[in-house]
């Protein structure tokens, strides 16, 4: 997967922001060097997950389309690791 990057989508909507997404923007600078150029980070106005009660809890992020709820920096890093290292 030479140039294939995985896409990390952050949500800066009200709900996610209040529930902790404000701290997730640092993620880009925290991603360990071996993964750095394999992850592309994008932000959204609202991922439209907060309106749907079937999802768990904000803040939400998406990693290659997969929803991570109650996201924290640690949780996201783990998920990235899993995704890349398999």
């Amino acid at each position: 997967m030479a140039d294939e990057k995985i896409l990390l989508e952050l949500c800066f909507g009200t709900t996610c922001f209040v529930m902790g997404a404000s701290k997730l923007q640092e993620i880009e600078s925290i991603i360990p060097p071996q993964y750095k150029n394999k992850v592309e980070v994008k932000a959204h106005t609202c991922l439209d997950l907060c309106k749907n009660s079937t999802y768990m809890k904000a803040p939400f992020v998406k990693l290659d389309g997969e929803i991570i709820s109650e996201a924290t920096v640690e949780k996201i890093l783990k998920a990235i690791e899993r995704k890349i290292d398999g």
Binding site: Q25, T45, C50
Partner: protein
């Protein structure tokens, strides 16, 4: 405000006499939004410093109060002219003034006593007016100059204290000062350079330029410039919150898109909805600034911010008042708000399920209340015309 009507943009910029700690000129104005009229007075107190300040403030306040209480501007100013005392030593009036009353249709009445004659610029050129002169029955050396005419769109009027026209007096280059002629030439060139220059900026440039005429760049007198610009109102439309009925999303998105003026979206869900309806792409900045979520961008929209947190911050900043607004989403929204004359809010009333999460503060449910408070402060303190529409 009807579609046809214009906006009277006025602003005054002042500089104290060098070394003084009080302004010797005084500017006061009041806008009556409902009646569509505006009153303004620029008064220059004899001398400088605190004494001049008191004289000028007294004169300006009294004129404004009289006209406000329903007295005709001519009557009001005549009373003042006849009652202002004369300086015992120098036998001249305690203070001079320019006062005017202007309607949204551009009908203007001007009264000047002792200040340099105002300057009227239309299509980049000077328009001269001949005043009707009324002489004080009590002090025969006091004359009021009266004017009554109708402004045309894009007209500008410049009023100033003699600190402007006498700037540089006595220097080799300006033996008699910058004079009215110099000021006219400068104003014409400034308008040519920037035909839509705001009253605030033009007034500032005039004062700065007149101080440059002094050999040491220090003002020798109080310097004030008051500019009136009769122009099309700058309109802003803010769409915040999804409409109550989802089947009208398309209709409201189109109204938003067709709006003739600047546009802002306040709210992530609202932004997504409009992007979807208009088939446009949104990009969100990756870094949040201050305590607020980052701004986003979409073709045809001047600003996109998060919703309730940003609105609440805007209200907080406006209440506190800053010299420079913080560099975050709320600061950017304020810049847009204050640079507009007419502000329309379209407020969606759909309840946002997410905000009923008991973990979230109550604040998130009160978009409507925040907007209502914003309306109050924008129309009160910042003299904006604000319309609210709940959809």
């Amino acid at each position: 405000m009807s579609e046809k009507s214009f906006f009277v943009d006025i602003d005054c910029f002042q500089q104290k006499k060098h070394g003084q700690n009080a302004f010797g000129d005084c500017f006061k104005s009041k806008r009556f939004t409902d009646e569509g009229r505006l009153l303004a007075v620029l008064s220059d107190g004899l001398g400088s410093g605190i004494k001049a300040n008191i004289l000028a403030t007294m004169t300006a306040t009294m004129i404004l109060k009289f006209i406000e209480d329903g007295k005709d501007i001519l009557k009001a100013t005549e009373v003042i002219m006849n009652s202002l005392p004369v300086c015992q030593v120098r036998k001249i009036s305690y203070s001079t003034f320019s006062a005017f009353e202007c309607s949204d249709e551009g009908e203007i009445k001007i009264v000047e006593e002792g200040n340099p004659d105002f300057i009227h610029i239309r299509n980049g050129r000077l328009v001269e007016h001949t005043p009707r002169i009324v002489t004080s029955k009590k002090f025969t050396n006091r004359h009021m100059h009266l004017y009554n005419f109708k402004l045309e769109p894009e007209d500008r009027l410049i009023f100033c204290s003699d600190g402007v026209t006498q700037a540089g007096m006595g220097t080799d280059e300006y033996k008699l000062g910058w004079r009215r002629e110099g000021l006219i030439e400068f104003v014409e060139s400034e308008i040519k350079r920037d035909p839509s220059i705001s009253s605030r900026h033009l007034a500032m440039e005039i004062v700065k330029e007149s101080i440059r005429k002094e050999p040491d760049h220090q003002s020798k007198d109080d310097v004030s410039a008051l500019v009136l610009y009769f122009r099309k109102p700058r309109k802003l439309l803010i769409f915040t919150g999804p409409p109550y009925r989802q089947d009208r999303d398309a209709e409201y998105s189109k109204i938003f898109d067709d709006f003739d003026g600047r546009k802002a979206i306040v709210g992530g869900t609202t932004a997504n909805l409009i992007a979807r309806e208009l088939g446009r792409e949104i990009t969100t900045e990756k870094y949040n600034k201050g305590m607020l979520p980052a701004c986003s961008h979409m073709d045809g929209v001047d600003l996109i911010t998060e919703g309730i947190l940003t609105l609440t911050k805007v209200l907080e900043y406006l209440n506190e008042g800053y010299d420079r607004w913080p560099d975050d989403a709320a600061g950017r929204l304020i810049e847009l708000l204050l640079d507009s004359d007419v502000i329309n809010f379209m407020i969606g009333s759909k309840l946002n399920q997410a905000h009923y999460d008991p973990d979230l503060p109550l604040e998130l449910e009160i978009r409507k209340n925040v907007v209502k408070q914003l309306e109050k402060i924008l129309s009160g303190r910042y003299i904006k015309k604000v319309n609210l529409k709940f959809i």
